[in-house]
């Protein structure tokens, strides 16, 4: 799990689920809805890729199509589940006691700890696109917790902004990870400096094109890098949007 890699968008795992038939209890939606998932790491039926990256286990680029589409309420333990809404609207319900509606830019971190349930639904006709990130906790069976926040691309442009982890303004989670975002609209070069040489950095291109440590990446491409003291990110004149996840080994 600790080797550097480049993963092109088309090399990711792909699964499609229907709200009818065998998966009807798992997938919401009526009369017919489809949920598609591109996985960067092994998850569910996709098991021919890599098993994760540091403390990261799941990275799903998911599309909920059709009113009511999503995941019906189901159980979790331990995992810290983060969702970043890219498009559309997500209705999230959890047993910590939250019922939230999130739109593009909104995100949450739900730590399932000793046990919790959640439900993830698109109640609208337009598609909802979400990035789901699952992180191992640093302790087992912690008290469940939930936090939500918002990334505003209009006011936080052209700089690396911390969303989750041990940083000012970020949602704190019980693990040595930090999730950041960079939304740019001009050509520039920035250095991302990991907390230590032991930390790994996973960069996912949400939109646009970027050069990460001399590797050109296009929309939905990603790279995982270990042993980098400073990671050079080069954007172009066109808009670019990145999610950057730093993790302990």
């Amino acid at each position: 799990m600790n080797a550097s890699f480049v993963l092109r968008a088309s090399e990711r795992g792909y699964n499609k689920f229907l709200s009818t038939g065998d998966s009807a209890s798992y997938i919401g939606g009526h009369p017919e809805a489809t949920l598609t998932r591109h996985s960067s790491f092994d998850f569910g039926p996709y098991q021919s890729g890599q098993r994760g990256f540091g403390r990261l286990r799941v990275f799903g680029d998911e599309l909920f199509s059709g009113p009511g589409c999503g995941y019906n309420i189901h159980r979790h333990h331990n995992f810290i589940i983060c969702a970043f809404v890219l498009k559309g609207q997500l209705t999230h319900i959890n047993t910590v006691g939250n019922m939230d509606q999130l739109t593009a830019g909104d995100y949450y971190a739900f730590s399932a700890g000793s046990g919790g349930k959640h439900c993830e639904l698109n109640l609208r006709n337009e598609d909802t696109n979400i990035l789901y990130v699952w992180i191992m906790p640093d302790q087992l069976l912690l008290p469940p917790s939930y936090g939500r926040s918002r990334f505003d691309a209009a006011t936080e442009r052209n700089r690396i902004v911390s969303l989750v982890g041990n940083a000012d303004g970020a949602i704190r989670v019980p693990q040595d990870v930090k999730i950041s975002r960079l939304s740019s609209d001009k050509a520039m070069t920035l250095d991302y400096t990991p907390t230590s040489k032991e930390h790994g950095v996973y960069v996912f291109v949400i939109e646009g094109e970027v050069v990460v440590k001399d590797t050109p990446l296009a929309r939905r491409d990603s790279t995982g890098i270990w042993g980098g003291e400073r990671i050079k990110l080069r954007t172009g004149v066109e808009d670019a949007d990145l999610l950057i996840i730093e993790t302990a080994p």
Binding site: H74, R75, G113
Partner: protein, 72 residues
């Protein structure tokens, strides 16, 4: 006699935890049942993920855990 320390296994489908020391009485697995002795066709009781998609974890428990509930 197996002198290996007892281990913990986590479901990568949902986070369910199987602790060899505790077993899982409600699923017919006595305390001390090693992962290797859990039947190969056993699946996660919460989400149905197969046994081979669990991961051995060396993560400590949170303070006050595990709370073992008596079986009614």
């Amino acid at each position: 006699m197996n002198n290996e320390p007892l281990k913990r296994w986590m479901c990568l489908g949902c986070g369910f935890l199987y602790d060899e020391a505790l077993g899982s009485a409600e699923h017919g697995l006595a305390p001390g049942t090693r992962w290797a002795d859990v039947p190969e066709d056993w699946v996660c009781p919460d989400c149905g993920t197969p046994k081979h998609m669990f991961e051995m974890v060396e993560i400590p428990y949170a303070p006050g855990q595990p709370v073992v509930r008596p079986i009614a």
